[in-house]
């Protein structure tokens, strides 16, 4: 298959927009801007789908992703009132960002290696006896439209998965309704307050036991010694495990 220059131009322009949108998602301080960048990425991916002649998927991508999912995101952002700019300058967990960037670079390196190593395995120029030749195993009928073919395969070979999809969507709808419904009475507070309560209860228990221990004089020293002894034993076991 020969590629015309137009294909390359479309690919590189759309690809640039895909990556720009992706960077916009992760670098925007405001979640609304992130959502709008996401629309740009999703649209560009739809363009790339058209370039690969997956017309139906391109339409679904625009309608479902850009039209429904991003709108849902924006809806929730506005509903919760979190459309304020975030402070991105601070890094609450020290060293998290460098490590994340390192992991990302590792991802890119590993997957690019895989792509380069397997570059010719699909097109068949490297191995003549490869598993799936592009034309012999082809299930694409060039005369029919891709919607027709997708429908045919979907309701014959993939019909069970299609039915499961319906079940999945039903579960998702029911789950969403159950999770966001109003509950009668007061909700247990989330976050620090719960932890504070538990910490207070834990400390109270500690004080109780300490008071009991204090009544029984001399017990403190022995327990400390026991703890140290058991810790030493654990360390020895670990070392033995490493040696074995």
């Amino acid at each position: 298959m020969d590629a015309s220059n137009v294909d390359y131009v479309v690919f590189f322009v759309a690809g640039a927009f895909v990556l720009l949108g992706a960077w916009g998602v992760i670098l925007s301080r405001n979640p609304v801007h992130s959502a709008l960048s996401l629309v740009g990425t999703l649209f560009s991916v739809a363009v790339l789908f058209i370039l690969q002649e997956a017309h139906f998927l391109a339409a679904v991508q625009v309608v479902v992703y850009a039209g429904a999912i991003v709108i849902l995101f924006l809806f929730v952002i506005m509903l919760l009132g979190v459309d304020r700019a975030e402070q991105l300058g601070v890094d609450p967990i020290g060293g998290q960002r460098p490590v994340a960037v390192l992991i990302g670079a590792g991802f890119i390196a590993a997957m690019l290696t895989a792509v380069i190593a397997g570059a010719d395995s699909l097109s068949g120029t490297a191995q003549p006896n490869k598993v799936a030749p592009p034309t012999a195993g082809s299930t694409v009928d060039q005369t029919a439209s891709d919607i027709e073919q997708l429908g045919n395969r979907l309701f014959t070979d993939w019909v069970f998965a299609f039915e499961l999809t319906g079940l999945l969507l039903t579960i998702a709808v029911v789950g969403a309704v159950v999770m966001v419904r109003k509950v009668k009475g007061d909700l247990a507070p989330l976050g620090e307050s719960v932890i504070d309560e538990r910490l207070a209860a834990y400390e109270a228990r500690l004080e109780e036991t300490a008071a009991e221990d204090a009544a029984d004089a001399g017990s403190h020293g022995t327990t400390d010694a026991d703890d140290e002894a058991s810790a030493d034993a654990d360390a020895d076991e670990d070392a033995a495990g490493v040696d074995a």
Binding site: M1, A3, F11, G15, V18, L19, A22, W23, V25, I26, P31, A35, L38, V45, L48, Q52, E53, A54, F56, L57, Q61, V64, Y65, I69, L72, F73, V76, L79, G81, V82, P92, Q96, V99, I108, L112, V115, L122, S123, P134, T139, V140, D146, L150, R153, W158, T165, L168, L169, I171, A172, V173, G175, A176, M179, V180, L187, P189, L190, G191, E192
Partner: protein
């Protein structure tokens, strides 16, 4: 038609961008958007492989990924709404109740 390797490289870059964003950002909504980026990278690779092999299975897989992504977003956003109602302005770092 241009070679599928181009799409795979773009897919790798998009996936890694999404992964880094998921690790770096603390707003749960933005983290969800990063998951969508990663799913889109996989979709791109699926379609590229399907086109290269002349198999419609790639496009059908993308169809199912889309449906699962929609269900995931619905449930995930419901969880976020439930969390934010109890504790407005919560970030991913604050949600440590399960730590015990």
């Amino acid at each position: 038609m241009i070679g599928y390797e181009f799409y795979l490289v773009l897919s790798v870059l998009l996936f890694s961008t999404g992964a880094v964003g998921l690790l770096v950002r603390r707003n749960p909504l933005v983290m969800f958007m990063c998951v969508e980026l990663m799913l889109n990278a996989v979709n791109l690779a699926f379609v590229a492989f399907g086109t290269e092999l002349g198999d419609l299975g790639g496009q059908l897989s993308v169809f199912f990924v889309l449906v699962v992504a929609a269900a995931e977003v619905v449930v995930g956003l419901a969880i976020i709404v439930a969390i934010m109602r109890r504790r407005p302005g919560a970030t991913a770092d604050d949600l440590s109740v399960l730590r015990g």
